[in-house]
């Protein structure tokens, strides 16, 4: 049985998080001493029956009160500034990260790399490269927690949440579901495998699946999306080339950012946001498409974000 007193430290964030953890521990110990030493001292020195001077000197108590109000206030504000700053950095994912989609369901993790491979309850990633997870759940709320990376994020049905990390040590680390999700919540666990880059390349080549965007393109045709959104379509539907990451004008005179969530909503709840100049014709695909398939479609639409809508250019 291997035994640790402290968790393994295997990501860039883990270093910063631990730094703060131990600084907080030191500050707490200091405050404990500040309270417990006088407490013990008074309790012993002024115990009943002991002959000591109990005459109080006449001091302005409000000065004491203000002192021990302001010092803790300054201390906690400093802690706040530090942790908030660190959190901002933890939240902004670096560009050029490896992208992995995660779907949680009772009680397993389904993952898919942008390069194509799918995994269940396991995640293989290379050392030293940032990895960004885009996550959703097909039932209840879960939480993707990797203690060695000091990272967790709830995985919420109906939303996409993200989490990123840059592994700094080769090894095998726990994945836990940290949000209670029902009967075998404690079995919704897995492993992250951090590999040397060349091992990772070899691992990727093993299955040689198609990249996610290509799988999405295949779905785009097989589900019939291309019948309306395709180039040769006679139906007046918005073209999807050059769509992703742009502001879309709506019939309601509002604008909406064409991001993952917008595309997901447009597939499942097409009537909720109608693009300006189009009619509400699209059927909902709710119940006909899985969360993984939606994520593949998004990957495809993302991959054509830099193309001009055909026919629009001269």
């Amino acid at each position: 049985m291997n035994f640790h007193l402290f968790p393994e430290q295997a990501s860039t964030v883990a270093r910063e998080s631990d730094w703060m953890f131990w600084a907080l521990t030191a500050a707490s110990l200091f405050i404990c001493l500040l309270v417990f030493l006088p407490l013990a001292w008074f309790a012993i020195k002024y115990r009943r029956g002991r002959k000591v001077n109990r005459q109080l000197a006449d001091v302005a108590t409000w000065k004491i009160e203000v002192t021990w109000t302001l010092i803790p206030l300054v201390l906690v504000m400093a802690l706040f500034a530090w942790s908030a700053d660190a959190f901002f950095r933890m939240e902004s994912a670096p560009v050029g990260a490896l992208e992995v989609n995660v779907v949680g369901k009772q009680w397993m993790w389904k993952l898919q790399h942008a390069e194509g491979p799918r995994e269940i309850n396991e995640l293989h990633i290379p050392l030293g490269r940032p990895v960004k997870l885009t996550m959703t759940s097909q039932d209840v709320i879960h939480d993707f927690f990797v203690p060695a990376f000091r990272m967790k994020q709830d995985v919420v049905p109906g939303r996409y949440t993200t989490e990123w990390f840059t592994p700094t040590r080769v090894g095998r680390y726990h994945i836990f579901c940290a949000q209670y999700c029902g009967t075998t919540h404690s079995a919704m666990v897995g492993w992250v495998h951090v590999m040397e880059p060349q091992d990772y390349t070899r691992w990727l080549a093993q299955g040689s699946p198609e990249p996610m965007a290509a799988q999405g393109q295949a779905l785009f045709h097989s589900l019939g999306c291309s019948g309306c959104h395709g180039v040769s379509s006679k139906i007046h539907a918005p073209p999807l080339e050059g769509l992703y990451g742009h502001l879309i004008p709506l019939e309601t005179k509002e604008f909406v950012m064409a991001d993952d969530k917008y595309i997901r909503d447009s597939i499942l709840l097409p009537a909720s946001q109608i693009a300006a100049g189009y009619q509400n014709l699209m059927p909902s695909f709710k119940g006909h498409i899985s969360e993984e398939e939606i994520m593949e479609l998004i990957a495809y639409i993302k991959s054509i974000a830099n193309q001009a809508p055909e026919g629009s250019a001269p």
Binding site: M1, F21, C32, I64, W68, M77, V156
Partner: protein, 539 residues
């Protein structure tokens, strides 16, 4: 009993208890009922700790484990901690402390007790017919759509008991405003009254939000109205906002009364006026007010916006300050006092130690960057048990020992009391300190099985829990023993200053034979005068 003068316990019929409107008797009714709920919840905890001795959790099935922690949480939070000090000790001593004959609305007070128990019986019924496995937090969409079991029955139990809470809070607010004895101005009030007043404000303002939230779950579960389930067009995170809008202030419902007890016990057993009366009083109000705006710190990883998280983080740090002020003032009160180590005082020392640790570990969780790692791990479990058990249960025990002579007219055996306080303190730390380490290692909460490298800490924790259990059983036994064999208590065994000590023990039905008149500030203790006293009367 026939050689005693007439007092509130003189009548013995069942009817005289079940239809009583005497705040003292209602306090005792509450004490008996919360003991039952506590016992059930403690058994659930014991079964969980036994299951966790083993990484594969062989003792009970995962479903059973999940039902156990749900039961433990629901009963401990709503049916033990929230009513513990307010409804038992508060009911008993508030009117006496302010020189009143009863609370403002005695019949409403009895109604509160009935509502509370109807709620409690609903919860127990839900458990007997199959149980609920949602956790006490009832997170959606699990609770509304996916969970089996008797969720609605249990929710209704909490819902009904909530009205008992609201009425108790209302009763206390009106009582404290309108029924103070002549001369008892706001700044002559004992600090216990200030903290119960703050508690009552929260009870009245926050509990209705819980009622709405629970009702919304029932509506979605029964009729499929989409409020929280995204498949029905709802928002599951909305539930968390609503739930914690109540449940974070509820944490202060569970600790402010404890702080009130400590503010009574420390001056009495150090024979000193409390240091910084106004600061201690207003810090209670500050906690009650700021405590309403920190709920989002339960949701740092829930997908709420980064900016919202910042605001909740800064407010959570700020709410630590009034608690720190209290701890400093209690410590300063000891300076140049004449300190004795009677049982209530030992519990008060324990409280300061454990509450300080609980509060400081709260700073870890308010630091967003660190909370991302610690959230939903055993670190959080350890943190809130340091507040709820280390804080509230210890102060409840301290208060119960302090007022036991007044309540029953009997002294408990002092030596046993001191030993039990010590056993509780040791058992508690052994149970929960290892959980801080477990949480930092990454052990998530609510896990029926866990990786084997965590086992050492779980074994320590279970060993501690069995010691803690002894610490709870001892007072139960000697309190019952004292009812028959304990020495008769004088009116004021601790030579304390509050009005409740100026009337016989146990008090007459109308509390005071004549209405007291107050001419002084509270805590008129003099350490010099109390030096070299005759042996305490109970020794």
């Amino acid at each position: 009993m026939n050689n005693e003068p007439e007092n509130y316990l003189s009548e013995h019929s069942v009817r005289s208890w079940l239809l009583t409107t005497d705040h003292k008797r209602i306090g005792i009714l509450y004490l008996l009922s919360i003991l039952v709920y506590f016992a059930v919840a403690a058994v659930a905890a014991a079964l969980m700790r036994l299951t966790l001795l083993n990484p594969t959790g062989d003792l009970v099935l995962p479903e059973t484990y999940n039902k156990l922690f749900t039961l433990h949480g629901v009963l401990m939070v709503w049916f033990f901690l929230i009513p513990s000090i307010p409804a038992v000790l508060g009911n008993f001593v508030i009117p006496m402390m302010i020189g009143a004959r009863d609370v403002a609305f005695p019949k409403l007070n009895l109604l509160s007790w009935y509502l509370f128990n109807i709620g409690g019986l609903c919860v127990l019924y839900a458990v007997v017919v199959g149980g609920v496995d949602t956790g006490w937090t009832f997170y959606t969409p699990y609770s509304t759509t996916y969970a089996n079991g008797h969720v609605v029955t249990m929710i209704m139990g909490v819902f009904i008991a909530g009205f008992g809470s609201i009425l108790t809070g209302l009763n206390f607010i009106v009582t404290i405003h309108k029924m103070r004895a002549p001369g008892l101005t706001w700044f002559r009030l004992p600090l216990f009254i200030w903290s119960l007043y703050s508690t009552s404000l929260i009870l009245v303002l926050a509990t209705p939000v819980l009622a709405i939230t629970l009702l919304a779950i029932a509506v979605e579960r029964l009729w499929g109205v989409g409020i929280f389930d995204p498949n029905l067009g709802g928002d599951p995170v909305l539930f968390q906002h609503m739930f914690w809008f109540y449940s974070h202030p509820a944490v202060y419902i569970m600790i402010l009364p404890g702080m009130g007890v400590i503010s009574e016990v420390i001056p009495c057993f150090s024979r000193k006026r409390i240091f910084g009366y106004h600061f201690v009083a207003f810090s209670s109000i500050a906690i009650a007010v700021v405590g309403f705006s920190v709920w989002g710190h339960h949701m740092f990883v829930s997908s709420q916006s980064v900016y919202a998280a910042m605001v909740f983080s800064v407010l959570s740090f700020i709410v630590a300050v009034p608690s720190a002020i209290k701890v400093f003032n209690w410590t300063a009160t000891l300076y140049k006092g004449s300190i004795s180590y009677d049982t209530p005082m030992l519990y008060a020392f324990g409280f300061i130690g454990l509450f300080t640790i609980g509060g400081l570990t709260g700073l870890f969780l308010a630091s967003i960057a660190v909370d991302v790692h610690l959230h939903d791990t055993y670190f959080v479990v350890a943190h809130f048990h340091y507040i709820m058990v280390g804080g509230m249960v210890l102060s409840f025990m301290g208060g119960l020992h302090y007022w036991w002579p007044k309540i029953t007219g009997r002294m408990y055996p002092e030596i046993m009391g001191r030993i039990a306080a010590l056993v509780t303190f040791i058992g508690f730390n052994l149970t929960f300190f290892p959980q801080f380490l477990l949480g930092y290692l990454g052990q998530p909460r609510r896990y029926h099985a866990y990786p084997p490298e965590f086992q050492v800490f779980h074994v320590l924790s279970t060993a501690g829990a069995s010691i803690l259990g002894i610490g709870y059983l001892m007072p139960l036994l000697y309190f019952v023993w004292s009812l028959k064999y304990g020495q008769r208590a004088p009116a004021n065994p601790w030579k304390a200053t509050g009005l409740e000590w100026q009337t016989p023990s146990p008090p007459p039905s109308e509390n005071f034979h004549e209405t007291p008149i107050v001419t002084e500030e509270p805590y008129d203790y003099h350490p010099e005068a109390d030096e070299l006293p005759p042996e305490p009367q109970h020794a």
